[in-house]
Amino acid sequence: MNAAPLLAVEGLTKYFGRAPQLVRAVEDVSFDIAPGEVLGLVGESGSGKSTIGRLILRLIDSTAGAIRFEGQDISQLPERHLKVLRRNAQMIFQDPYASLNPRLRVREIVGEALDAHRIASGTRRTERIGELLETVGLQAAHLSRFPHEFSGGQRQRIGIARALAVEPKLIVADEPVSALDVSVQAQVINLLQDLRQRFGLAMLFISHDLDVVELMCDRIAVLYLGRVMEIGSSDDISKRPRHPYTRALLAASPKADPDAPKIRRMLTGDIPSPMAPPSGCVFRTRCPAATEECARTVPMLRSTGGGHRFACHYDIAYDEEPAAA
């Protein structure tokens, strides 16, 4: 995409704690998101995907790297200068039960954002809250209810209404449908698609579910132990993956089709601890094609053209890849 990026992340790094308990949660991650674009972050436990979301919104501070929002590096800005970011970037959380204050009515939950940014007051404020509720498929009549009076799917809608209140340009959605039943998940996915279309929202969509990410996202970044393994268009990642980890991840996701082949390349072993990531390529301890070179040098992301990049010393064709035991 040629438009100036809405968000550009460069060399983003986050360590928690200190040696010998140092956790390398995010290591040298770069990507950007154009206005209106949805980038998916996928990965398993310890991949750093949620940490990246929180870093971008400055809910936690980075160890190194730049986070440019509309061209301005916000990674080091003091809180009092973050108003523009807070007005333009919002978050939707995974757990619709934990992310809403149980003592506040919907009017207050959604209204807080309007007050904080002095967007609307008086009757205009009430009208605006009603509009927001209708936008997410709830009724203005729900205004004076408490979160416990809603189902899980409805609570997630309240969380979305709260995020939309400031008319943000970017939403960080951290596993927004993972806690929902599949029939309710479908409702929320479709709502998010509607909102993208209607408001031209850009999103960082964090999920462990490849099917959901492929559906929702224009581009996908695959993370493993805090590093980007592969990044490209949704089709590149799901149909033409080049990194052995991406392939393994795709192969391991159960397909809802009893005729799909059951024997597949399976990764052996566990995900290493981010406290002791392997040297060189972090994926090498589980990679069916790893060599000594992989233990020595960290592979850089390299381009295959069209914005598709992957971090592997080799470029292994599918049929050459040895199947793991």
């Binding site: 309710v184 479709n190 990764l267």
Partner: protein, 332 residues
């Protein structure tokens, strides 16, 4: 039947006392599992699948929960068929862990945190097989090998907290397998695991089942997992079985409108909308327990008046059954 199933649940009803009165989360569940077969019990929140599995294992929280109707018939090794509902608790305990084994979603809460994994397996083996301490420990080591835990000899001395989630689930499985059960009840065993680890555990359960000829009742909400593991599938909605069939029947020719709507909710079945965005079919509203008619009627796009008032029963109790008054019309 000439060859009774290993497990045969008939018309199971479970009630719970709550502050707001009595509720009936399971209202007539009929399903069966044969030896060597995997039956997936699938449903969303509130479907009653987990309560069904707890009832089968005799683990309903007492005194709030009780089986208020139906039978849970289990064919023992001796050939005798026992109703687990009426079996006295001490005998049921003896059966659990010897002929019936269970694994759960969160191994950390099912394992004892202050015993090494070897001690836990050995304890269970001693209890159920009546062998000595040394032999039991050797059996524990053998079991860890069976579930493909590397360096079993060293790892029997580890505590659960020293292991990863995937390894703990392997220990749970080793514990479950240690007495050679005829039936394994697996309640969301991979739900808390990462997808690459889930693939390992599913393959492990499938291999053990093949090698040991166990029957498996696999409770899950994940339709991908169902397609992966099941021979037959029982679909639950609002406390009732709505459809049972072979895994191919269910995925390729579902009869109940809920089953087909649920499958169409899967992101993998998304379609392109006019604006180019991809969307999935969704099911409006959420689960309701209705007093009259079909439970799914309030959310069913195909519901007619008769669905809201008529008595809706599971049409038969064979291998292929559906609880819908109109499925023939709807499919036609």
């Amino acid at each position: 039947m000439d060859t009774p199933h290993l497990l045969s649940i008939k018309g199971l009803e479970v009630r719970f006392r709550t502050e707001d009165g009595e509720v009936t989360p399971v209202r007539g569940v009929t399903l069966s599992v044969a030896a060597g077969e995997t039956v997936a019990l699938v449903g969303e929140s509130g479907s009653g699948k987990s309560v069904t599995s707890l009832a089968t294992m005799g683990l309903l929280p007492r005194p709030a929960g009780r089986v208020s109707g139906g039978q849970i018939l289990f064919r023992r090794r001796s050939g005798e068929v026992t109703d687990l509902v009426t079996l006295p608790l001490p005998e049921l305990r003896k059966l659990r862990g010897s002929e019936i084994a269970m694994i759960f979603q969160e191994p950390m809460t099912s394992l004892n945190p202050v015993l090494t994994v070897g001690e836990q397996i050995a304890e269970s083996v001693r209890l159920h097989m009546g062998i000595g301490h040394g032999a039991a420990l050797r059996r524990a080591e053998e079991m860890l090998g069976l579930v493909e835990i590397p360096n079993a000899r060293d790892r029997i001395h580890e505590y659960p907290h020293q292991m990863s989630g995937g390894m703990r689930q392997r220990v749970m499985i080793a514990l479950a397998m240690s007495c050679n059960p005829a039936l394994l009840i697996a309640d969301e065993p991979t739900t808390a695991l990462d997808v690459t680890i889930q693939a390992q555990i599913l393959a492990l359960i499938a291999r053990l089942q093949r090698d040991l000829g166990m029957g498996v009742l696999f409770i899950t909400h994940n339709l991908g997992v169902v397609a992966e593991v099941a021979d037959r599938v029982t679909v639950m909605y609002a406390g009732q079985v709505v459809e049972t069939g072979s895994v191919k029947d269910i995925f390729q020719a579902p009869r109940h409108p809920y089953t087909s709507a649920l499958l169409n909710c899967l992101p993998a079945r998304a379609r392109h909308r006019e604006d180019g965005r991809r969307v999935v079919q969704s099911i409006p509203g959420s689960v309701e327990f209705v007093k009259e008619g079909c439970s799914f009627a309030p959310r069913c796009t195909l519901a007619a008046d008769i669905c809201r008032t008529g008595a809706v029963t599971l049409d038969d109790e064979t291998e292929r059954s559906v609880r819908c008054l109109r499925w023939r019309e709807v499919l036609a």
